[in-house]
Subunit: 243 residues, 2 copies
DNA sequence: TGTGTTATATCTTATATAAGTTATATGTTA
DNA sequence: TAACATATAACTTATATAAGATATAACACA
C-alpha cells in the first residue's frame, strides 16, 4: 500500500502501469501478443477493472500497447503494414509514405566512443555494433543510415542474419533480440553532403542534407539505439506534427 | 440521441467534446479562461460527470485545454512562460530552449498565390498578410520567418500593432484576433542559403539551412497560418519526439 | 452457411473519497 | 487595534470502485 501525500505517492493506476511495464520488460508478453483481459489483470492485481483500464489507456496513448475492441489488448509491434512506418517521418512531397528498400552496406563491431557511450548509457569503450545501410524510395537512394546498438543486447547480430530478414529493422530487433522500440528523440540539422554521402546517395558534394540524429528507447526508457541518418530532401520531406 | 451502429454513430463523450469545441469556436471562453466545472457541464449537457470528464480528458490530451487540480480547467493559451515555446522546436545543442528575440522586417498585404490559398483553404487571390521577421537567440540571428495569414481573419493587423506587442506571435494572435493555434504540421527540408537568407542571418551563401514549412490550425482544424522558416542550425537543432 | 454463445473492449452512469486551491472566518500576538 | 497565523469551508479536479448496456470478434455447432 501507499500512503497518499507521501513523497513517493503514486496513484494506483500508475502502480498498475508500472507492473504491466515490468511484465513487458520481463518478456512475459512479447510484441504482437495479447496481454490478459482487463478483468484478468484486475483480478491479478487486486484492483477494479476501471483502474486497470486507466493504466492501459495511458499505455495505449504512449503506443506501448494497442487496444482492439472485441479482440483484446496487444503489445505494440513494428511488424505489420502500418507499424513499419511508425518511426519513419520521411515521406514524398506529393503523397504517402511507403516503406523504402534497404541496402545493407556493412556491419562492424566497434568500441563505443565517449559520445555514443553516453547516449546509450554504456561505459566508454563498450562493445557496440555499427550498421550502415542505404534506404531507397522507388530505386532512388535517399537516406544513408549509421546505426549503433550495444553488442551486449544484440548478441549474434551480423550481416547474414540481417540480410536474411525481410522487414523493417525494428521488426528485426523485436523478433531476433526481443527488443521493442517504443520511443525516440530526434535532433535535426542541415548539413552539406561530403564525399561519402555523395557517393552513396549519388549526388554531388555540397548538396544540402538533413542530418537526423536519433536515440531510441525500449521499455523503462532504456536507450538501445543511436543512429545518424543523412537524408536527401529533394523530393522528400521530414514530416512532423505538434499540438 | 444517437442510434448505435448507425453510420454516424459517435459516443456521447465525443459529442460532448464537439459541443465544447463549438463553444470554443464561438468564443464563449477565450484562451486563458476557465471553462465551467465538470459538474456544471454535466448539468448543462445532461450527461454524467464521468462522460464530461472523458471529453475533457481528450481535449486536455490534445493540449486544447489545461486541467489544474483544485483550480479548474482552462482554455490553452500561448501566453505565459511555458506556453510560449510550445510550438518552437528549435533549441540549443547544449541546453534548454529560451524564447528568442523577434525582429520585425516587414508586414505586407498580398494576394494569395495558388499554393498558399490551397494550404489556407482560401480562394486564389484572397487577401493575405505576409509578415517577415528574424528570430535571434542571444543576439545571433538564427531563423528567417515568412508568415502568411488570411487578412479576413486578422483585420487591422499592421506593423505598428505587432511592434507594440511584447510576447510570442501566437500570443499576439490570441489577444488581438481571438485566434488560438492548437495544432501544426511541419514539413522540413535541407536547403542552401540564398542571398536574402545570407544577408539576414549574417552567413555566407551556400550554408545549409533547415527549411521548415508549417501550416497551423485553430479550433475545428481550420488552417489559419502558413509559414516558412529558414533556420541556421550551426549551434541549434530541430528537436522532436515520436512514439 | 448461418446462428447463437462467449469473450473482449467500449461506453455510460453512479457514488465515494482524496487532494489541491482559494476565500473566509477565527484566533493570536505585537 | 492591526498584522499575522491558523483553521475551516467550499470549491475544484483526481482517484477508485461498481455495475450494466453495447459493439466487435471469434468460435462452436447445427
Amino acid at each position: 500500500m501507499n500512503i497518499p501525500s507521501s513523497p513517493s505517492f503514486r496513484p494506483l493506476y500508475d502502480q498498475i502501469k508500472i507492473l504491466i511495464t515490468q511484465s513487458l520488460i520481463a518478456g512475459e508478453w512479447g510484441p504482437g501478443d495479447a496481454i490478459p483481459s482487463e478483468i484478468d489483470l484486475a483480478t491479478r492485481f487486486k484492483v477494479s477493472q476501471g483502474t486497470v483500464r486507466k493504466a492501459i489507456d495511458e499505455l495505449a496513448a504512449e503506443n506501448i500497447v494497442i487496444r482492439r475492441q472485441g479482440k483484446g489488448t496487444f503489445v505494440a509491434s513494428h511488424s505489420g503494414e502500418r507499424s513499419s512506418t511508425r518511426f519513419l517521418r520521411i515521406s514524398r512531397d506529393d503523397g504517402l509514405a511507403e516503406y523504402p528498400q534497404s541496402d545493407l552496406l556493412s556491419v562492424t563491431r566497434e568500441r563505443a566512443p565517449e559520445n555514443t557511450a553516453a547516449l546509450l548509457e554504456l561505459r566508454n569503450g563498450a562493445s557496440i555494433f555499427c550498421i550502415k545501410r542505404l534506404l531507397s524510395f522507388e530505386g532512388k537512394a535517399q537516406i544513408l543510415d549509421e546505426i549503433h546498438v550495444p553488442a551486449a543486447s544484440f548478441k549474434g547480430l551480423d550481416e547474414h542474419v540481417i540480410r536474411a530478414y525481410t522487414g523493417s529493422l525494428y521488426s528485426f530487433f523485436e523478433s531476433h533480440f526481443g527488443i521493442a522500440m517504443i520511443r525516440a528523440e530526434e535532433h535535426i540539422k542541415a548539413v552539406l553532403a561530403g564525399p561519402d554521402e555523395a557517393t552513396h546517395l549519388k549526388i554531388a558534394e555540397g548538396i544540402p542534407l538533413l542530418r537526423i540524429d536519433r536515440v531510441a528507447f525500449t521499455y523503462g526508457d532504456r536507450p538501445v539505439e543511436w543512429r545518424r541518418g543523412l537524408c536527401h530532401t529533394n523530393q522528400f520531406s521530414y514530416v512532423t506534427e505538434m499540438s
